[in-house]
């Protein structure tokens, strides 16, 4: 399914989508993304995405639970994800209209 998502399987977007459900630590994020999107994010890919998202203020780390640190979406992260989702929806609608395909 990861291949089916193509460019929408971009790690940062997947992480934001996963955290939209609520705070999660690294392993929970990878499990959620694998389950929901069918994409297995490697540890290096996941933390590269988390670091960039954190630097840009889109996610923030919470106090660590043992050695596992949960991350949550910030208001800016939620706005960014909403904007991306809207753009994806408009593109999907446009594509389906032009292909004259009815949404399932």
């Amino acid at each position: 399914m990861g291949e089916e998502l193509g460019r929408w399987a971009e790690p940062g977007l997947l992480v934001l989508t996963s955290l939209a459900e609520g705070p999660k630590h690294g392993y929970a994020i990878t499990m959620d993304i694998a389950e929901q999107a069918g994409v297995t994010l490697g540890p290096g890919t996941l933390y590269a995405a988390l670091q960039r998202l954190e630097e840009r203020g889109l996610v923030e780390g919470l106090p660590a639970d043992g050695r596992r640190r949960p991350y949550r979406l910030t208001a800016a992260g939620a706005a960014e994800l909403a904007g991306q989702a809207q753009r994806m929806r408009r593109l999907a609608t446009l594509s389906l209209d032009r292909l004259q395909v009815r949404p399932a």
């Binding site: 934001l16 490697g42 540890p43 670091q51």
Partner: protein, 283 residues
């Protein structure tokens, strides 16, 4: 982390120290949870992540590295020009003055670009950066020692004699070493400074630096052509650097100035592009 399997410790150890300080423990736990030692694909992914982290650290933490190195090259060329021009007092005075002013603009612009970093350094907020400040001082002291040895070696020999030329070459090589060491130390300090200054300051100052270098390069080109018109014999003679011909020395200085101008121009372009590029989400 000491209780983790060796492969986990090794993979975390591949990341740069600053990264490990922030993410090391939780990353080790993730590698442990994912049973990375049984999944070679994840080992490769972690290694690629470490390489990216090191690359990002180098490129993101030293945006002034290219301007600093171009300034070092420019300074070397400028000293070469000063040495070349000292035998031609009064010739092409206007071009000479323009060269001096343009150089001052270029180096002043770099100083302004680096000023926020200097403020952070003097306020003691750049851990581990002070040791690099000692590098140019130590290099200059070493250079002075080389000069003393070179002067003693060349004493009593004619200007164009082998020992004298060798002594001068030694001084020049040591001087280039001082410039390189200073530029290296400056980039190391800038890598460790946690603030960047006002958003528009760097693009403007780096662009001003590039403009100053281009102006200085054109001034040296004009100066050499004026020397040719004013004193054709000297132009074709051997009054160049290290007893070489004037023309070859002049061209060497011009090439170094052109290279410094191109490097600073590339840096200015990068800074201007970055300052106008909209922020993208984590990719």
């Amino acid at each position: 982390m000491s209780g983790d399997p060796r492969v986990v410790r090794a993979l975390v150890g591949c990341y740069p120290p600053q990264w490990r300080h922030r993410y090391g423990e939780e990353y080790a736990q993730l590698l442990h949870d994912m049973q990375v030692h049984r999944r070679p694909r994840l080992v490769v992914d972690s290694l690629l992540g470490a390489a990216r982290a090191r690359g990002a650290l180098m490129s993101e933490r030293s945006p002034l590295a290219l301007p600093v190195w171009s300034a070092a090259l420019f300074t070397a060329a400028g000293i070469g020009f000063a040495k070349l021009a000292e035998d031609f007092p009064g010739i092409a005075a206007t071009a000479h003055t323009v060269m001096v002013i343009a150089s001052a603009v270029a180096l002043l612009a770099l100083a302004v670009a680096a000023a926020p970093a200097a403020v952070v350094l003097f306020r003691g907020r750049a851990d581990g950066a002070w040791k690099y400040v000692a590098v140019p001082v130590a290099a200059a002291a070493l250079w002075y020692g080389v000069v003393r040895i070179a002067v003693a070696t060349a004493a009593g020999h004619a200007v164009h004699s082998g020992p004298n030329v060798a002594a001068f070459a030694m001084i020049v090589a040591a001087g280039l070493g001082v410039l390189a060491a200073t530029a290296w130390a400056a980039t190391r300090v800038l890598q460790r400074v946690p603030v960047a200054g006002p958003g528009r300051l760097r693009p403007v100052t780096v662009t001003a630096m590039a403009a100053g270098m281009v102006g200085a390069t054109i001034a040296v080109l004009v100066w050499g052509l004026r020397v040719r018109l004013a004193d054709a014999a000297a132009f074709d003679g051997d009054q160049g650097l290290m007893a070489t011909s004037f023309v070859s020395s002049w061209i060497a200085v011009l090439i170094a100035l052109c290279a410094a101008s191109v490097l600073s121009g590339v840096a200015a372009r990068r800074h201007l592009t970055a300052s106008w590029r909209p922020r993208l989400p984590g990719a």
